[in-house]
Protein backbone atom coordinates (compact mmCIF):
# COMPACT_ATOMS: atom_id res chain seq x y z
CA UNK A 1 0.00 0.00 0.00
CA UNK A 2 3.00 2.27 0.24
CA UNK A 3 4.21 1.39 -3.21
CA UNK A 4 3.57 4.94 -4.40
CA UNK A 5 6.56 6.34 -2.54
CA UNK A 6 9.29 6.67 -5.13
CA UNK A 7 11.42 9.35 -3.49
CA UNK A 8 14.99 8.16 -3.39
CA UNK A 9 14.14 4.99 -5.27
CA UNK A 10 16.76 3.57 -7.60
CA UNK A 11 15.78 1.94 -10.87
CA UNK A 12 18.60 -0.27 -12.11
CA UNK A 13 19.15 -0.19 -15.88
CA UNK A 14 21.97 -0.13 -18.37
CA UNK A 15 21.88 3.35 -19.88
CA UNK A 16 24.19 6.28 -20.58
CA UNK A 17 22.44 8.27 -17.83
CA UNK A 18 23.17 5.54 -15.30
CA UNK A 19 26.76 5.40 -16.51
CA UNK A 20 27.44 9.11 -15.97
CA UNK A 21 29.63 10.17 -13.07
CA UNK A 22 27.41 11.06 -10.09
CA UNK A 23 29.13 14.45 -9.84
CA UNK A 24 28.07 15.27 -13.38
CA UNK A 25 24.50 14.32 -12.61
CA UNK A 26 24.42 16.30 -9.38
CA UNK A 27 25.77 19.39 -11.11
CA UNK A 28 23.31 18.90 -13.94
CA UNK A 29 20.32 18.81 -11.61
CA UNK A 30 21.59 21.79 -9.64
CA UNK A 31 22.10 23.96 -12.71
CA UNK A 32 18.93 22.72 -14.36
CA UNK A 33 16.85 23.80 -11.37
CA UNK A 34 18.75 27.08 -11.19
CA UNK A 35 18.05 27.78 -14.87
CA UNK A 36 14.39 26.81 -14.50
CA UNK A 37 13.90 29.93 -12.41
CA UNK A 38 15.15 32.07 -15.29
CA UNK A 39 12.73 30.56 -17.71
CA UNK A 40 9.51 32.53 -18.01
CA UNK A 41 8.19 31.86 -21.49
CA UNK A 42 7.20 29.05 -23.80
CA UNK A 43 10.53 28.90 -25.67
CA UNK A 44 12.49 28.32 -22.50
CA UNK A 45 10.13 25.58 -21.39
CA UNK A 46 10.43 23.91 -24.77
CA UNK A 47 14.23 23.80 -24.40
CA UNK A 48 13.90 22.48 -20.85
CA UNK A 49 11.14 20.03 -21.73
CA UNK A 50 12.97 18.55 -24.69
CA UNK A 51 16.14 18.22 -22.65
CA UNK A 52 14.34 16.56 -19.72
CA UNK A 53 12.34 14.18 -21.93
CA UNK A 54 15.41 13.07 -23.82
CA UNK A 55 17.17 12.39 -20.52
CA UNK A 56 14.19 10.36 -19.27
CA UNK A 57 13.92 8.42 -22.53
CA UNK A 58 17.61 7.63 -22.80
CA UNK A 59 17.75 6.51 -19.16
CA UNK A 60 15.46 3.54 -19.91
CA UNK A 61 13.52 4.28 -16.72
CA UNK A 62 9.80 3.79 -17.48
CA UNK A 63 8.12 7.19 -17.78
CA UNK A 64 5.52 5.99 -15.27
CA UNK A 65 8.12 6.04 -12.50
CA UNK A 66 8.95 9.68 -13.10
CA UNK A 67 5.28 10.61 -13.34
CA UNK A 68 4.50 8.75 -10.13
CA UNK A 69 7.01 10.97 -8.34
CA UNK A 70 4.82 13.97 -9.19
CA UNK A 71 1.77 12.57 -7.43
CA UNK A 72 2.61 13.85 -3.93
CA UNK A 73 2.82 17.49 -5.12
CA UNK A 74 -0.21 17.35 -7.38
CA UNK A 75 -2.60 18.68 -4.76
CA UNK A 76 -0.40 21.58 -3.65
CA UNK A 77 0.33 22.55 -7.23
CA UNK A 78 -3.34 22.53 -8.24
CA UNK A 79 -4.22 24.64 -5.24
CA UNK A 80 -1.57 27.27 -5.91
CA UNK A 81 -2.49 27.29 -9.60
CA UNK A 82 -6.08 28.02 -8.71
CA UNK A 83 -5.05 30.76 -6.32
CA UNK A 84 -2.87 32.52 -8.82
CA UNK A 85 -5.44 32.26 -11.62
CA UNK A 86 -8.03 33.90 -9.41
CA UNK A 87 -5.96 36.45 -7.55
CA UNK A 88 -3.47 37.87 -10.03
CA UNK A 89 -4.94 41.11 -11.43
CA UNK A 90 -5.17 41.66 -15.18
CA UNK A 91 -7.46 41.20 -18.19
CA UNK A 92 -10.46 38.98 -17.70
CA UNK A 93 -10.25 35.55 -19.37
CA UNK A 94 -13.36 33.93 -17.87
CA UNK A 95 -15.77 34.42 -15.01
CA UNK A 96 -17.50 31.92 -12.74
CA UNK A 97 -20.00 33.59 -10.40
CA UNK A 98 -17.97 36.31 -8.69
CA UNK A 99 -14.61 34.78 -9.49
CA UNK A 100 -12.62 36.39 -12.23
CA UNK A 101 -9.83 34.48 -13.95
CA UNK A 102 -7.19 36.57 -15.69
CA UNK A 103 -4.87 35.86 -18.63
CA UNK A 104 -1.94 36.98 -16.52
CA UNK A 105 -3.03 34.61 -13.78
CA UNK A 106 -3.33 31.67 -16.21
CA UNK A 107 0.11 32.42 -17.57
CA UNK A 108 1.66 32.64 -14.13
CA UNK A 109 -0.06 29.42 -13.03
CA UNK A 110 1.19 27.58 -16.11
CA UNK A 111 4.75 28.76 -15.58
CA UNK A 112 4.73 27.79 -11.94
CA UNK A 113 3.27 24.34 -12.55
CA UNK A 114 5.75 23.64 -15.35
CA UNK A 115 8.61 24.73 -13.11
CA UNK A 116 7.60 22.60 -10.15
CA UNK A 117 6.90 19.51 -12.26
CA UNK A 118 10.23 19.80 -14.06
CA UNK A 119 12.04 20.45 -10.80
CA UNK A 120 10.60 17.34 -9.17
CA UNK A 121 11.07 15.21 -12.29
CA UNK A 122 14.72 16.15 -12.58
CA UNK A 123 15.31 15.36 -8.93
CA UNK A 124 13.59 11.97 -9.18
CA UNK A 125 15.50 11.29 -12.38
CA UNK A 126 18.72 11.81 -10.41
CA UNK A 127 17.82 9.25 -7.75
CA UNK A 128 16.19 6.84 -10.19
CA UNK A 129 19.35 6.65 -12.28
CA UNK A 130 21.98 6.87 -9.54
CA UNK A 131 22.58 4.24 -6.89
CA UNK A 132 22.70 5.44 -3.30
CA UNK A 133 26.39 4.76 -2.95
CA UNK A 134 27.24 6.68 -6.12
CA UNK A 135 25.05 9.53 -5.01
CA UNK A 136 26.68 9.97 -1.63
CA UNK A 137 30.16 9.55 -3.11
CA UNK A 138 29.31 12.27 -5.57
CA UNK A 139 27.96 14.55 -2.86
CA UNK A 140 31.02 14.04 -0.71
CA UNK A 141 33.30 14.88 -3.64
CA UNK A 142 31.35 18.04 -4.35
CA UNK A 143 31.17 19.12 -0.69
CA UNK A 144 34.93 18.76 -0.46
CA UNK A 145 35.22 21.53 -3.07
CA UNK A 146 33.13 23.97 -1.01
CA UNK A 147 35.39 25.62 1.64
CA UNK A 148 32.66 26.11 4.23
CA UNK A 149 31.39 22.52 4.01
CA UNK A 150 34.75 20.84 3.59
CA UNK A 151 35.16 19.89 7.25
CA UNK A 152 31.79 18.17 7.38
CA UNK A 153 31.86 16.63 3.92
CA UNK A 154 32.39 13.09 5.13
CA UNK A 155 29.97 13.27 8.04
CA UNK A 156 27.28 14.81 5.90
CA UNK A 157 27.61 12.26 3.17
CA UNK A 158 27.67 9.43 5.68
CA UNK A 159 24.50 10.73 7.29
CA UNK A 160 22.84 11.12 3.93
CA UNK A 161 23.95 7.65 2.92
CA UNK A 162 22.44 6.16 6.07
CA UNK A 163 19.25 8.19 5.70
CA UNK A 164 18.78 7.10 2.09
CA UNK A 165 19.68 3.55 2.96
CA UNK A 166 16.97 3.45 5.60
CA UNK A 167 14.13 4.93 3.54
CA UNK A 168 13.11 1.56 2.06
CA UNK A 169 13.58 -0.11 5.44
CA UNK A 170 11.30 2.40 7.13
CA UNK A 171 8.77 2.15 4.32
CA UNK A 172 8.73 -1.64 4.78
CA UNK A 173 8.45 -1.22 8.50
CA UNK A 174 5.56 1.22 8.17
CA UNK A 175 3.85 -1.19 5.81
CA UNK A 176 4.28 -4.00 8.30
CA UNK A 177 2.99 -2.01 11.25
CA UNK A 178 0.07 -0.71 9.21
CA UNK A 179 -0.89 -4.23 8.24
CA UNK A 180 -0.63 -5.40 11.83
CA UNK A 181 -2.88 -2.58 13.06
CA UNK A 182 -5.31 -3.08 10.18
CA UNK A 183 -5.60 -6.71 11.24
CA UNK A 184 -6.66 -5.34 14.61
CA UNK A 185 -9.46 -3.39 12.95
CA UNK A 186 -7.69 -0.02 12.66
CA UNK A 187 -9.12 2.20 9.95
CA UNK A 188 -6.96 4.91 8.40
CA UNK A 189 -9.25 6.01 5.63
CA UNK A 190 -12.60 7.04 7.06
CA UNK A 191 -13.62 9.59 9.67
CA UNK A 192 -13.00 13.29 10.13
CA UNK A 193 -9.56 14.83 9.67
CA UNK A 194 -8.93 14.80 13.43
CA UNK A 195 -9.98 11.17 13.67
CA UNK A 196 -7.77 10.20 10.81
CA UNK A 197 -4.81 12.06 12.29
CA UNK A 198 -5.40 10.25 15.57
CA UNK A 199 -5.61 6.90 13.81
CA UNK A 200 -1.94 7.27 12.89
CA UNK A 201 -0.76 7.12 16.50
CA UNK A 202 -0.80 3.30 16.47
CA UNK A 203 1.61 3.49 13.52
CA UNK A 204 3.82 6.35 14.60
CA UNK A 205 4.60 5.14 18.11
CA UNK A 206 5.89 1.70 17.06
CA UNK A 207 7.67 3.27 14.10
CA UNK A 208 9.57 5.71 16.31
CA UNK A 209 10.41 3.04 18.83
CA UNK A 210 11.87 0.80 16.16
CA UNK A 211 13.66 3.66 14.36
CA UNK A 212 15.47 4.59 17.58
CA UNK A 213 16.23 0.95 18.21
CA UNK A 214 17.72 0.61 14.73
CA UNK A 215 19.74 3.80 15.08
CA UNK A 216 21.16 2.57 18.36
CA UNK A 217 22.04 -0.83 16.92
CA UNK A 218 23.65 0.68 13.83
CA UNK A 219 25.73 3.06 15.93
CA UNK A 220 26.91 0.11 18.03
CA UNK A 221 27.73 -1.93 14.94
CA UNK A 222 29.71 0.92 13.39
CA UNK A 223 31.59 1.61 16.57
CA UNK A 224 32.44 -2.02 17.11
CA UNK A 225 34.00 -2.01 13.66
CA UNK A 226 36.16 0.93 14.72
CA UNK A 227 34.43 3.63 12.72
CA UNK A 228 35.71 7.01 13.85
CA UNK A 229 34.73 9.31 11.01
CA UNK A 230 36.24 10.26 7.71
CA UNK A 231 39.83 10.94 8.65
CA UNK A 232 42.29 8.62 6.96
CA UNK A 233 39.64 6.58 5.18
CA UNK A 234 40.50 5.54 1.66
CA UNK A 235 38.05 4.64 -1.07
CA UNK A 236 37.57 1.42 -2.89
CA UNK A 237 35.94 3.08 -5.85
CA UNK A 238 37.45 6.31 -7.18
CA UNK A 239 35.28 8.69 -9.13
CA UNK A 240 36.65 9.44 -12.57
CA UNK A 241 35.20 11.52 -15.39
CA UNK A 242 34.97 9.77 -18.75
CA UNK A 243 34.30 10.89 -22.30
CA UNK A 244 30.60 10.47 -21.61
CA UNK A 245 30.78 13.13 -18.89
CA UNK A 246 32.57 15.60 -21.16
CA UNK A 247 29.92 15.09 -23.81
CA UNK A 248 27.20 15.57 -21.24
CA UNK A 249 28.86 18.77 -20.03
CA UNK A 250 28.86 20.21 -23.54
CA UNK A 251 25.19 19.33 -24.06
CA UNK A 252 24.31 20.84 -20.71
CA UNK A 253 26.13 24.11 -21.35
CA UNK A 254 24.24 24.52 -24.62
CA UNK A 255 20.83 23.68 -23.14
CA UNK A 256 21.26 25.72 -20.00
CA UNK A 257 22.55 28.76 -21.88
CA UNK A 258 19.57 28.54 -24.22
CA UNK A 259 17.19 28.35 -21.29
CA UNK A 260 18.62 31.40 -19.60
CA UNK A 261 18.98 33.27 -22.90
CA UNK A 262 15.36 32.65 -23.80
CA UNK A 263 14.32 34.10 -20.49
CA UNK A 264 16.54 37.14 -20.70
CA UNK A 265 16.26 37.97 -24.40
CA UNK A 266 12.71 37.17 -25.49
CA UNK A 267 11.00 39.01 -22.71
CA UNK A 268 12.90 42.25 -23.00
Amino acid sequence: MLQDITIGQYYPADSPIHALDPRTKLKAVFFFIFCLFWVNNIYGFIFAGVFLSSVVLSSKVPVGYVVKGLKPVLFVVSLTMLMSILTIPGDEAFRIFVFKGTWQGLRQAGIMAARIFMLISSASMLTLATSTIDLTDGLEALFLKIPLLKRFAHDMSMMMCIALRFIPTLVDETDRIMKAQMSRGADFQSGSFAQRAKSFIPILVPLFVSAFQRAYELAMAMESRCYTGGEGRTRMKLLEYTKLDYTANVVMVIVFCSMVASGVLVNR
Binding site: I177, A180, S183, G185, D187, P202, V205, V209
Partner: protein, 287 residues
Amino acid sequence: MSIEVRDLTHIYAQGTVFEQMAIEDVSFDVGAIDFIGVIGPTGSGKSTLIQHLNRLLAPTKGTVIVNGIDVNSKSVPMREICKRVGIVFQYPEYQLFEETVYKDVCFGPKNLGFDKEKIDFLAKESIELVGLDFETVKDLSPFELSGGQKRRVAIAGVLAMKPQILVLDEPASGLDPAGRADLLDSIQKMNKELGICIILVSHNMDDVAHYCDKVMVFSKGRLLRYGRTAEVFADSDFLLSSGLAPPQSKQLLIELKKRGIPVDDSVFSIEGAIDEILKWHSSLAGK
Protein backbone atom coordinates in the same frame (compact mmCIF):
# COMPACT_ATOMS: atom_id res chain seq x y z
CA MET B 1 -15.12 -25.65 5.73
CA SER B 2 -13.91 -22.44 7.33
CA ILE B 3 -11.38 -21.43 4.69
CA GLU B 4 -11.57 -22.22 0.99
CA VAL B 5 -8.72 -20.96 -1.17
CA ARG B 6 -8.91 -21.47 -4.94
CA ASP B 7 -6.20 -20.92 -7.56
CA LEU B 8 -4.63 -18.17 -5.49
CA THR B 9 -1.77 -16.39 -7.25
CA HIS B 10 0.07 -13.30 -6.07
CA ILE B 11 2.59 -11.35 -8.09
CA TYR B 12 4.37 -8.44 -6.38
CA ALA B 13 5.07 -5.26 -8.38
CA GLN B 14 3.48 -6.71 -11.49
CA GLY B 15 4.63 -5.08 -14.70
CA THR B 16 7.91 -3.64 -13.37
CA VAL B 17 11.49 -4.88 -13.24
CA PHE B 18 10.85 -5.83 -9.62
CA GLU B 19 8.11 -8.27 -10.61
CA GLN B 20 8.11 -11.28 -8.31
CA MET B 21 5.86 -14.31 -8.33
CA ALA B 22 5.27 -15.00 -4.63
CA ILE B 23 2.54 -17.65 -4.73
CA GLU B 24 1.19 -19.54 -7.68
CA ASP B 25 -2.08 -21.45 -8.13
CA VAL B 26 -2.57 -22.42 -4.51
CA SER B 27 -5.82 -24.20 -3.58
CA PHE B 28 -6.78 -25.76 -0.25
CA ASP B 29 -9.54 -26.12 2.34
CA VAL B 30 -9.23 -25.71 6.08
CA GLY B 31 -11.72 -27.19 8.56
CA ALA B 32 -13.37 -25.20 11.34
CA ILE B 33 -11.25 -26.50 14.24
CA ASP B 34 -8.09 -27.60 12.45
CA PHE B 35 -4.61 -26.94 13.78
CA ILE B 36 -2.54 -26.50 10.65
CA GLY B 37 1.18 -26.05 10.27
CA VAL B 38 2.58 -24.14 7.30
CA ILE B 39 6.19 -24.92 6.55
CA GLY B 40 8.61 -24.06 3.76
CA PRO B 41 11.99 -22.41 3.28
CA THR B 42 12.40 -18.61 3.55
CA GLY B 43 10.88 -16.87 0.54
CA SER B 44 8.51 -19.72 -0.27
CA GLY B 45 5.46 -17.46 0.04
CA LYS B 46 4.11 -18.31 3.50
CA SER B 47 3.76 -14.73 4.71
CA THR B 48 2.27 -13.65 1.40
CA LEU B 49 -0.32 -16.41 1.65
CA ILE B 50 -1.55 -15.52 5.11
CA GLN B 51 -1.99 -11.85 4.23
CA HIS B 52 -4.65 -12.93 1.75
CA LEU B 53 -6.73 -14.42 4.52
CA ASN B 54 -7.86 -11.00 5.79
CA ARG B 55 -7.61 -8.84 2.70
CA LEU B 56 -4.28 -7.20 3.51
CA LEU B 57 -3.21 -8.31 0.05
CA ALA B 58 -5.53 -8.63 -2.91
CA PRO B 59 -4.97 -11.74 -5.04
CA THR B 60 -3.56 -11.29 -8.52
CA LYS B 61 -5.80 -14.24 -9.36
CA GLY B 62 -8.05 -16.58 -7.40
CA THR B 63 -10.49 -16.41 -4.50
CA VAL B 64 -10.42 -16.70 -0.73
CA ILE B 65 -13.64 -17.65 1.07
CA VAL B 66 -13.68 -17.51 4.87
CA ASN B 67 -16.73 -18.91 6.69
CA GLY B 68 -18.82 -18.42 3.60
CA ILE B 69 -17.86 -14.82 2.83
CA ASP B 70 -15.65 -13.77 -0.04
CA VAL B 71 -12.78 -11.90 1.60
CA ASN B 72 -12.21 -9.65 -1.40
CA SER B 73 -15.80 -8.70 -1.97
CA LYS B 74 -16.13 -4.92 -1.75
CA SER B 75 -19.49 -5.20 0.01
CA VAL B 76 -17.92 -6.81 3.08
CA PRO B 77 -16.34 -4.24 5.44
CA MET B 78 -12.80 -4.93 6.68
CA ARG B 79 -14.10 -5.13 10.26
CA GLU B 80 -16.31 -8.10 9.44
CA ILE B 81 -13.23 -9.89 8.20
CA CYS B 82 -11.18 -8.91 11.27
CA LYS B 83 -13.87 -10.49 13.45
CA ARG B 84 -13.33 -13.80 11.71
CA VAL B 85 -9.61 -13.92 11.02
CA GLY B 86 -6.98 -12.72 13.47
CA ILE B 87 -3.42 -12.48 12.18
CA VAL B 88 -0.42 -12.32 14.45
CA PHE B 89 2.55 -11.18 12.37
CA GLN B 90 6.16 -12.08 12.86
CA TYR B 91 7.62 -10.13 15.79
CA PRO B 92 4.19 -8.80 16.81
CA GLU B 93 5.76 -6.89 19.73
CA TYR B 94 6.47 -4.13 17.19
CA GLN B 95 2.76 -3.33 17.02
CA LEU B 96 2.44 -2.29 20.69
CA PHE B 97 1.81 1.41 21.15
CA GLU B 98 -0.47 2.16 24.10
CA GLU B 99 0.48 3.41 27.54
CA THR B 100 -0.67 0.30 29.33
CA VAL B 101 -0.99 -3.36 28.47
CA TYR B 102 -4.72 -3.23 29.18
CA LYS B 103 -5.32 -0.34 26.77
CA ASP B 104 -3.25 -1.99 24.07
CA VAL B 105 -5.16 -5.25 24.27
CA CYS B 106 -8.44 -3.27 24.09
CA PHE B 107 -7.44 -1.59 20.83
CA GLY B 108 -8.71 -4.41 18.59
CA PRO B 109 -12.09 -5.09 20.25
CA LYS B 110 -12.70 -1.34 20.52
CA ASN B 111 -12.18 -0.97 16.77
CA LEU B 112 -14.73 -3.71 16.22
CA GLY B 113 -17.29 -1.66 18.13
CA PHE B 114 -17.87 -4.05 21.06
CA ASP B 115 -19.42 -2.52 24.18
CA LYS B 116 -17.40 -1.57 27.24
CA GLU B 117 -18.24 -4.61 29.36
CA LYS B 118 -17.52 -7.05 26.59
CA ILE B 119 -14.18 -5.37 25.86
CA ASP B 120 -13.25 -5.54 29.52
CA PHE B 121 -14.14 -9.20 29.68
CA LEU B 122 -12.31 -10.08 26.45
CA ALA B 123 -9.16 -8.20 27.48
CA LYS B 124 -9.01 -10.05 30.78
CA GLU B 125 -9.77 -13.39 29.17
CA SER B 126 -7.16 -13.10 26.43
CA ILE B 127 -4.40 -11.84 28.73
CA GLU B 128 -4.98 -14.88 30.95
CA LEU B 129 -5.15 -17.13 27.87
CA VAL B 130 -1.64 -16.21 26.77
CA GLY B 131 -0.39 -17.12 30.22
CA LEU B 132 0.02 -13.71 31.88
CA ASP B 133 -1.52 -12.59 35.14
CA PHE B 134 -4.08 -9.91 34.37
CA GLU B 135 -3.80 -7.98 37.64
CA THR B 136 0.01 -7.81 37.54
CA VAL B 137 0.46 -6.72 33.94
CA LYS B 138 -2.62 -4.65 33.12
CA ASP B 139 -1.24 -1.30 34.25
CA LEU B 140 2.35 -1.82 33.11
CA SER B 141 3.69 -0.07 30.04
CA PRO B 142 4.12 -2.59 27.21
CA PHE B 143 7.59 -1.18 26.66
CA GLU B 144 8.87 -2.22 30.07
CA LEU B 145 8.01 -5.90 29.61
CA SER B 146 10.48 -8.60 28.61
CA GLY B 147 10.61 -9.76 25.00
CA GLY B 148 8.56 -12.89 25.66
CA GLN B 149 5.94 -10.97 27.65
CA LYS B 150 5.63 -8.33 24.90
CA ARG B 151 5.03 -11.10 22.40
CA ARG B 152 2.27 -12.53 24.61
CA VAL B 153 0.61 -9.16 25.04
CA ALA B 154 0.63 -8.64 21.27
CA ILE B 155 -0.97 -12.05 20.73
CA ALA B 156 -3.55 -11.23 23.41
CA GLY B 157 -4.34 -8.07 21.46
CA VAL B 158 -5.39 -10.19 18.49
CA LEU B 159 -7.12 -12.86 20.57
CA ALA B 160 -9.24 -10.21 22.25
CA MET B 161 -11.05 -9.73 18.96
CA LYS B 162 -12.45 -13.26 19.33
CA PRO B 163 -11.42 -14.51 15.89
CA GLN B 164 -12.70 -17.87 14.73
CA ILE B 165 -9.45 -18.39 12.88
CA LEU B 166 -6.10 -17.41 14.36
CA VAL B 167 -3.11 -17.17 12.03
CA LEU B 168 0.34 -16.90 13.58
CA ASP B 169 3.49 -16.13 11.55
CA GLU B 170 6.48 -17.62 13.37
CA PRO B 171 5.07 -16.79 16.82
CA ALA B 172 7.88 -18.50 18.71
CA SER B 173 10.90 -17.24 16.79
CA GLY B 174 13.48 -15.60 19.02
CA LEU B 175 12.05 -17.03 22.25
CA ASP B 176 14.02 -19.28 24.58
CA PRO B 177 13.07 -23.00 24.57
CA ALA B 178 10.94 -22.79 27.71
CA GLY B 179 9.10 -19.68 26.51
CA ARG B 180 8.61 -21.36 23.19
CA ALA B 181 6.98 -24.45 24.63
CA ASP B 182 4.82 -22.32 26.97
CA LEU B 183 3.55 -20.18 24.13
CA LEU B 184 2.81 -23.09 21.83
CA ASP B 185 1.05 -24.91 24.67
CA SER B 186 -1.23 -21.90 25.15
CA ILE B 187 -1.93 -21.86 21.43
CA GLN B 188 -2.78 -25.55 21.54
CA LYS B 189 -5.16 -24.86 24.41
CA MET B 190 -6.95 -22.21 22.34
CA ASN B 191 -7.46 -24.81 19.64
CA LYS B 192 -8.50 -27.74 21.82
CA GLU B 193 -10.54 -25.93 24.47
CA LEU B 194 -11.96 -22.91 22.66
CA GLY B 195 -12.26 -24.49 19.23
CA ILE B 196 -10.31 -21.75 17.44
CA CYS B 197 -8.90 -22.81 14.10
CA ILE B 198 -5.12 -22.29 14.19
CA ILE B 199 -2.80 -21.74 11.26
CA LEU B 200 0.77 -21.81 12.47
CA VAL B 201 3.57 -20.70 10.16
CA SER B 202 6.86 -22.04 11.44
CA HIS B 203 10.43 -22.87 10.58
CA ASN B 204 10.70 -25.31 13.38
CA MET B 205 9.87 -28.84 12.22
CA ASP B 206 9.85 -30.18 15.76
CA ASP B 207 7.16 -27.69 16.81
CA VAL B 208 5.04 -28.43 13.77
CA ALA B 209 5.43 -32.19 14.20
CA HIS B 210 4.46 -31.91 17.84
CA TYR B 211 1.48 -29.55 17.69
CA CYS B 212 -0.15 -29.60 14.27
CA ASP B 213 -2.78 -32.05 13.02
CA LYS B 214 -2.17 -31.20 9.39
CA VAL B 215 0.73 -29.68 7.48
CA MET B 216 1.10 -27.61 4.32
CA VAL B 217 4.49 -27.65 2.64
CA PHE B 218 5.37 -24.67 0.47
CA SER B 219 8.30 -24.32 -1.86
CA LYS B 220 8.94 -21.54 -4.38
CA GLY B 221 5.38 -20.27 -4.10
CA ARG B 222 3.70 -23.60 -4.66
CA LEU B 223 1.78 -25.79 -2.25
CA LEU B 224 3.68 -29.05 -2.67
CA ARG B 225 1.87 -31.14 -0.14
CA TYR B 226 -1.04 -30.85 2.27
CA GLY B 227 -2.02 -33.71 4.54
CA ARG B 228 -1.96 -35.23 7.97
CA THR B 229 1.24 -34.49 9.86
CA ALA B 230 2.17 -38.15 10.09
CA GLU B 231 1.84 -38.65 6.33
CA VAL B 232 3.84 -35.57 5.39
CA PHE B 233 6.63 -36.22 7.87
CA ALA B 234 6.85 -39.90 6.98
CA ASP B 235 8.46 -38.99 3.66
CA SER B 236 11.84 -37.61 4.62
CA ASP B 237 13.22 -37.64 1.07
CA PHE B 238 10.42 -35.31 0.08
CA LEU B 239 11.14 -32.94 2.98
CA LEU B 240 14.84 -32.80 2.13
CA SER B 241 14.16 -32.22 -1.55
CA SER B 242 11.91 -29.25 -0.74
CA GLY B 243 14.63 -27.65 1.33
CA LEU B 244 13.43 -28.70 4.78
CA ALA B 245 15.05 -30.83 7.43
CA PRO B 246 12.93 -33.54 9.10
CA PRO B 247 12.25 -33.15 12.84
CA GLN B 248 15.32 -33.85 14.98
CA SER B 249 13.88 -37.00 16.54
CA LYS B 250 13.29 -38.36 13.06
CA GLN B 251 16.79 -37.42 11.95
CA LEU B 252 18.10 -39.43 14.89
CA LEU B 253 16.09 -42.51 13.86
CA ILE B 254 17.25 -42.19 10.25
CA GLU B 255 20.86 -42.05 11.36
CA LEU B 256 20.40 -45.02 13.69
CA LYS B 257 18.84 -47.06 10.92
CA LYS B 258 21.68 -46.18 8.58
CA ARG B 259 24.04 -47.67 11.17
CA GLY B 260 22.13 -50.92 11.10
CA ILE B 261 20.01 -50.49 14.21
CA PRO B 262 16.48 -51.82 13.61
CA VAL B 263 14.23 -48.81 14.32
CA ASP B 264 11.22 -47.55 12.37
CA ASP B 265 12.29 -44.25 10.80
CA SER B 266 8.79 -43.20 9.73
CA VAL B 267 8.15 -42.13 13.34
CA PHE B 268 8.54 -38.35 13.80
CA SER B 269 7.52 -37.45 17.34
CA ILE B 270 9.88 -37.34 20.30
CA GLU B 271 7.72 -39.84 22.22
CA GLY B 272 7.64 -42.17 19.23
CA ALA B 273 11.41 -42.01 18.90
CA ILE B 274 11.85 -42.83 22.59
CA ASP B 275 9.55 -45.83 22.17
CA GLU B 276 11.48 -47.05 19.14
CA ILE B 277 14.81 -46.81 20.94
CA LEU B 278 13.43 -48.49 24.07
CA LYS B 279 12.00 -51.28 21.94
CA TRP B 280 15.40 -51.85 20.38
CA HIS B 281 17.02 -51.65 23.81
CA SER B 282 14.72 -54.25 25.33
CA SER B 283 15.20 -56.52 22.33
CA LEU B 284 18.94 -56.33 23.07
CA ALA B 285 18.32 -57.14 26.71
CA GLY B 286 16.19 -60.10 25.65
CA LYS B 287 19.10 -61.67 23.82
